[in-house]
Each structure stands twice: as C-alpha cells, then as structure tokens.
C-alpha cells in the first residue's frame, strides 16, 4: 500500500501534516513535551512575543463559558530576547517547524520584531497577531481596520523574507476586506480566527469574571464562526489559509480543510487534553486510510456547495 500523504505546504513551509498548535495554548512547546510527541505534529506556534517582556493582565484571567472559555492573559510573554536565549535551544532539538507569533503597539515595533526574527534560523515562519490596539492611532485595533492592517503587514514584509502569516481577528463586519488588505500587503498566508471578544459576570460578587472585564472567547463554541470565515476568505483570496477555532477532533480538521483551509491550528483543545494535537493527527491518518484517500490535499476546498 502506498504511504498516505498528510503533508502540506503553507506559505512555503513544508509541514508533515496540517495540524499545528495555536499560539498561547501550547506555551513554548516544552510545557507539552511530556504529553505529546512533538515530532508528530505539523508545526508549533509559540506564545505571542513582544519586544520587551510583558507582565500581562491581573487575575482572574480565565473563565469557562458554555462550550468555550474566555481568556484575558494580556499577552504575557518573556520578550523576544529571552525567547531566543532560553526557549529556542529547546525548539532547536526537535525536527518540527516552529512558527513564532508576535505583536507590537506600533508599526515600528512590529517591523523591529520581524527583523529580529528574520535572523533566527530556527524560526520557520512568523505569524503576525494584528488583534492589538495601535497606540499611535488612538487605540484603533490594527486587526479591525483594513488600512492599519495593510500598513503593519507591509512594514513586516519589508523587513523579512521568512514565510509571513497574518492572523486575523473575527471581530469585524467584513473578514474578507481584512483578508484582502493583508494579501495586498504581500502576506504569504492567513490564519484565522483569533478569539471573539466576550464577557462573563460573577453573579455572587457582581463583578466581571475577568479582571480585564472583557476577554477572548475560544473553544468549540466558536467553531461555526471560524468555519464560516475560513470559507468566506478562501473563496475571495488566493492565499493559503490556516483554519483556527474550536478544533478538537480530526473531524473538525477535515471540515476546515473542506471549507478551504490548507492547515489548521489546535488551541483550547490542548487544555481539554494535552495530547489532543497528536491524537488528532492519528485520527486524521486513520480517516484517510479508512476512506481510501491517499493525499490529504485532495480535501482542501473540496466542499460541495
């Protein structure tokens, strides 16, 4: 029997299979090493980095909601230099592509981060998180304004030849418009969706359940929204898409591929089971085998509408 082909290419990065782990839900990889064979998954996307270390938001930072969870971690991270010094050596040892997620408060910060990452050979690709307020332009969120998104992606593009993925926010009227702006700025791929802004309240204390008041909704609850956006964008834009949002099983992955994603990221599911990503890869392989599908790429965009 011919070997199954699970491999895909995203933004020029060759992946042994389409299942990556989502930024912020898999730490810097090593936290999960005891539970997952890191060499079995497609790629690791690391926790969002900024130029300087960031303390993050006060606690409580997470709360469970029906079929999902809200988080307001506040982008706590060790900062890019510590990452390079302390986290990259571990990641160097594994043969799985590492995609580095990052964010800034200004276009210049984004560009500076990209430039720094461009020099790190262990970085297979970069994922730009544009769901952050643009401090120079009165706090308007880069990810909800096509012009801001264009300018930040353009600036990043000019500083790096690394594969450049832009991660889109779902908190917009028109996701296609955002996707087009990023395509015009020469992104190599798009990943979507980031979390949907939500809120929870603790009736006993009459306070918001999160110290930050609002937070980002993730998990199975948002899957229908993610799938819709992936489908909309895949029909409108030529770039490869990484589907994200509520993926917990191989079936979910297959649905995202049918909707037009070339690869996916597993986020909140890592909390439900730390072995989720590997399990999904195994189940995906089993599905292909059971259904006589030789190459996972046959399924990309194969939705019959």
């Amino acid at each position: 029997m011919r070997k199954l082909d699970l491999s895909v290419h995203v933004a020029g990065i060759p992946l042994r299979n389409p299942v990556m782990t989502a930024s912020g839900t898999f730490g810097y990889g090593e936290e999960f090493a005891a539970y997952v064979d890191l060499e079995k998954i497609g790629a690791i996307v690391t926790k969002g980095l900024s130029l300087k270390a960031k303390a993050g938001n006060p606690m409580p930072r997470i709360v469970e909601t029906p079929g999902g969870m809200l988080n307001a971690i506040g982008l706590q991270n060790v900062g890019i230099e510590t990452f390079i010094r302390e986290k990259v050596p571990f990641l160097r040892k594994i043969a799985t592509p590492v995609i580095v997620n990052f964010f800034g408060n200004t276009v210049e910060e984004y560009a500076a981060l990209a430039e720094r990452l461009d020099a790190i050979p262990e970085v297979a690709g970069i994922e730009v998180n544009i769901s952050c307020p643009n401090v120079k332009h009165g706090g308007i969120v880069f990810g909800t304004d096509p012009k801001s998104a264009y300018s930040v992606v353009k600036a990043v593009r000019e500083t790096t030849i690394k594969p450049l993925i832009v991660k889109l926010s779902p908190n917009v009227t028109d996701i296609v418009e955002m996707a087009c702006a990023c395509a015009e700025a020469d992104a190599d791929a798009l990943s979507l969706i980031n979390t949907i802004t939500g809120m929870a309240i603790d009736l006993k204390t009459r306070r918001p359940a999160l110290a930050n008041v609002t937070g980002g909704l993730s998990g199975p609850a948002i899957k229908p929204v993610a799938l819709r956006m992936v489908w909309q964008v895949s029909r409108a834009v030529k770039l490869p898409i990484i589907g994200i949002g509520g993926i917990t099983t191989a079936t979910d992955v297959l649905e995202f591929l049918l909707a037009g994603a070339t690869a996916v990221q597993v986020g909140t599911a890592n909390f439900m089971s730390p072995a989720a990503s590997q399990q999904i890869v195994e189940d995906l392989e089993k599905y292909l085998r059971d259904n006589g599908i030789k190459d996972v790429k046959e399924l990309i965009g194969a939705l019959r509408v």
Binding site: T25, M69, I73, G219, S273
Partner: protein, 273 residues
Amino acid sequence: MQFKSMVVSNQEVSPGYYRIRLTAPRAILEAKPGQFAMVRVRDGVDPLLRRPFGIFDVGSFTPEYPDAPRQYYFDILYKVVGKGTSILSALHFKDYVDVLGPLGTGFTPGGTGEENILVGGGFGLAPLYFLAKELVKTTPLKVFIGGRRKEDVLCVTEFEQLGIDTYVATDDGTLGSRGLVTEVLEQHLCREGGKRVVLACGPEPMLKAVARLCENYGIRCQVSLEAAMACGVGACLGCVTKGHGHSENTPSYRCVCKEGPVFDSTELLWEEL
C-alpha cells in the same frame, strides 16, 4: 502523565464532601504531597475544562479476581460546589474519567529537628493528610483544622489515627474551640518555642492570616494556593498569582499550576491577592 482512570469507589464522607478513589499507573506512588491532578469529569464540551484537585492519598490493592495484578490508585477529597464536582459526585464504580497528573510542586517540610505544623480548612486538608502520612514516621507534627461548622472539619479521625495532635476551631463552636483556627494557632505559637515550619492549605483568607502570623513569629511558612486553571502545565498563563516582582510597578505573575500550587509565603504579594 495522562491516563484513563476507573472509579473504584466514591462516597460522601461528610455532608457535601466526597472521597473518590481512582485507578492509576504505578508511578502515582511517586506523587508528592501538595501536588494535584486535573480531572476531566466526562466527555463532551460541558464542562469544557479539567478540574484541579489535590492528591489526598495514594496506594494499591489487589482486585478480587484470580491472578489480578496489583492495582494502584489515588484518592481525591472534594467538595461539591458546582457543575464539575456534582458530575463527579454522581460517578459510580467502573465509570471512567481522564486524569492529568501529578502536577505542580509539593510541600517542602522542615528538616531534622524541625516541627511541622500543618494548618488547613475544608478540602485543604486533602494534601495535608497526604503530607502527614509521609511525615509522621520521621518528624514531630501537629495539625490545626479550621472550618465554618462541624461539617466542614474533615479528616480529624484520620489525623488522630495517625497519632497526630489535632487542634480544631469552628466559627460557630460546633466542634473544637469557637473562632478562627489562626487564633488557636497563635496561642500555640506563642506558648511553645523551637524550630518549626508551617505548611498550610485552605481558603485564601485563612492562608493570608497564617502567612501574617508566621511573618510575625519569624517562622518559615508554605501555602498551597488555588486558582482557576485551563492547562495545568504552565502553558496558558491563566492561573497566575502575584509574586514579588523585579520592579514595584510590574508584578511578576507566577503560575500556580507549575511554580505552585505550593509557594513560600514570602514569595507572594499578599496585599494584592
């Protein structure tokens, strides 16, 4: 480690408090007192996240069928407070849950010649009992237990069976002395001297009072904290507490799941918790 675990037994030990016994691989015997496990109480998305519980006991038995291999287990002592714990309380022998653990740091008790003073309330007694069982063989030990009412005071018999001096205080005086456990503890601390270490687990206000007391008396104190958790392995940064930071304006957040749940009380920024 992560493992499927079968329910061996699940009994109400005091009104609203249950003790569940779950099968585990042999390595569970290496769990340290103060460590915890994250339990997925059922399949599906409701509840979505695992629930953290301190390890109350570990052991092994031989099932009653021919040629049965030795079966290892651990116990959880839990209070029914919401969805996850009520689903847990409805589980029967032969039901399955998914377990992640042991996780986190454990207690670091006193060395030779030091007395270990355990202070706890509610299900905070769970890790303390596990600790006492290990310590009682080698070191002098005392236990102080607090609770709102008699029903909230757990494990007294267990501690007494270990032959440990046990002091109880309840808010309403229905068991032991009336008042806060820290009052009884303070009486003890000022009456007696010697080198000692306080190891505490319970509701945050109790821990705060214990930490302050120990600071006043210059006694080393470790506390086991609680926090809402998602991953349990230090990745999501959801479970943080405030530790003393590098600078005054930037608190250094510490992961309860990985750097804790047991912290030296001096590491924590108590005034901001």
